[in-house]
Symmetry: C2
Subunit: 252 residues, 2 copies
C-alpha cells in the first residue's frame, strides 16, 4: 500500500548564525507554522544553514590565493581568492570549463566549485562551504530533534548540484541520518513477474529533489522542508554510500 | 507564499496495451481512487505505459543483430538482439563499460542502453523502448485530459536514469507539456540581497523525482502520480530544453 506524501515547507526560520541550534530552530518554526513533527518525518535541510551554524563561512579578505589559484582564476574568470577556497575544499579537479571547476570535494562528492557558493552566504565578501562532515551533522540534528520532541525522524542535508548531460541543477542529498539513502530493488519482480536485475534507486536524492520544489534559493528561500508519509528503510547509512567509486565511474 | 505539496499515487491503472487511451485510464483510476483531477495538477507518467500504448515494444525474436551489435554484445555480456535494439534507438555511443552502453538516444537524452529496458516490458522476450517523441505524447495526453475533465494540467513523462558520480537511479523528465521544465532564477536576489548569477533549476526533474517516490518499479508498480499544490510557469516548453548541448557539456 502506497500512501499520499506531503512536502511541507518550514517557513519562519530566522537567518542562521554560527553556534545556532538548527534542530531547535526547526522544531520551533514547525510548531509556529502549525506542523508538529511526527514519527517517520524526513526533515530535509539546505546545507547552507548547517554550514553557517558550524562556522563554515569564509571571509574573502582573509584568503591568500596561491599561484595555482591565480592561474585557474584567469582560466575561469573568477576571483583568485574564491578559487583558493575551492581548492581547499577539493581533493581532485575533474574538469575545468565554462567558468566552472568541477571538483571531487574532500568528502568525495563531484560537483561544481567543490560546493563553495557565494549565494546566501551573507554578502559579496563571504563564501559558504559544505559542512565538514554532512553525515555527522545530520546525525547530530536527528538526535537533537529526538531529544526535543521525542520523535524518530530521518534527516537529509541537501545541496543543489548541476549534472552532466542535463541543463539545470536539482537538489540532492549530501548528508543523511536515520535512513538508507539507497533502495536496492534487485531481485524483486516486475509487473509481469520478471526479476529486476540492475535497479538501485537513490531515494535520498529523490527526497531531496522533492523537498527542493518548496525550498528555493531566492529571497523567499525556505531552508527546510518535511517529507511526510513515505515508508522508508530506517537503517542508518551515510550519504557517502551514494558516492560512486571512481573505478566504477565511466565519467572520471 | 509557498504551500504544502501533495504527491498522490494513482493506483488501479490496468496493464496497458497498444492503442489504450492513457489519459482516460488515468482519469478513471484517479476518480476510482477518490482523487478528482484539479486545475494545476502535474500528472507524472512512467514512460513505460506511454511506450506500450504507442506500440513501442520490440519482440526479441523479430530482431536481426548486426555484426557490430554482436561485438558489443561480447563486450557487455548482453544479448546481441538487445544491443541491436539499443543501437536503433541511439545516435551516438558515449561510453561502454560495466555491462552498460551509455548512449545519446535519437532524441538527445544521454542514458544507459538508450532507454531500452527489459523491465515491465511484458516478459523475457520483449523490450520496451522510449516513446518516439515524448513531448508530443505529453501534449496529446494533456489535451486529452483537458477534453475529458475540462481541467488544465501539466504532464511529465518520466524515466529512471542513472547518473555519473552517484550511485542509484532517479526519476527524471523525458517529455513534458503545459509547464516550463526549467526555472531560471538568475537575476533574483538571495536572502542577503545578493543577485543570483548562475542558477537554473530543473524543476521538471525535481517533480519527476518527487513522483518517483510513490511510483516504484517492482510488482506493486504504480505508473502515475499527481503532484498537487506547486505553483509553476505554465509556458509550454518541451523536455528537450533540458538536454545540454554536447558543446556545453564537459563530460561528452
Amino acid at each position: 500500500m502506497v500512501n499520499k506524501l506531503e512536502i511541507i515547507p518550514i517557513t519562519g526560520i530566522p537567518l542562521v548564525k554560527e553556534g545556532d541550534n538548527i534542530a531547535e530552530l526547526i522544531v520551533v518554526a514547525a510548531k509556529r507554522a502549525g506542523t508538529e513533527i511526527v514519527d517517520g518525518d524526513i526533515v530535509v535541510i539546505a546545507h547552507s544553514i548547517v554550514s553557517k551554524s558550524e562556522g563554515r563561512i569564509v571571509k574573502l579578505v582573509d584568503v591568500q590565493p596561491s599561484r595555482f589559484a591565480g592561474n585557474l582564476a584567469e582560466l575561469t574568470g573568477k576571483d583568485p581568492r574564491q578559487i583558493e577556497v575551492v581548492l581547499k575544499n577539493a581533493r581532485k579537479i575533474v574538469r575545468i570549463g565554462h567558468g566552472v571547476i568541477i571538483c571531487e570535494t574532500f568528502h568525495g562528492f563531484v560537483c561544481a566549485n567543490a560546493g563553495v557558493d557565494a549565494s546566501n552566504s551573507g554578502g559579496e565578501d563571504y563564501l559558504i562551504t559544505l559542512p565538514e562532515n554532512p553525515d555527522k551533522s545530520a546525525n547530530r540534528i536527528r538526535e537533537e530533534i529526538k531529544r526535543i520532541t521525542g520523535k524518530e525522524v530521518a534527516v537529509i542535508i541537501s545541496d543543489s548540484f548541476g549534472r552532466p548531460f542535463r541543463v539545470g541543477s536539482v537538489n540532492v542529498a549530501i548528508g543523511c541520518s536515520g535512513i538508507n539513502p539507497l533502495n536496492d530493488i534487485r531481485g524483486y519482480k516486475d509487473l509481469y513477474g520478471r526479476i529486476l536485475r540492475s535497479k538501485i534507486v537513490c531515494i535520498a536524492d529523490e527526497i531531496a529533489s522533492a523537498a527542493g520544489l518548496v525550498m528555493g534559493e531566492a529571497d523567499e528561500g525556505i531552508p527546510v522542508a518535511i517529507v511526510r508519509g513515505l515508508s522508508y528503510d530506517r537503517t542508518n547509512i551515510p550519504a557517502t554510500a551514494i558516492i560512486r567509486d571512481a573505478k566504477d565511474d565511466l565519467f572520471r
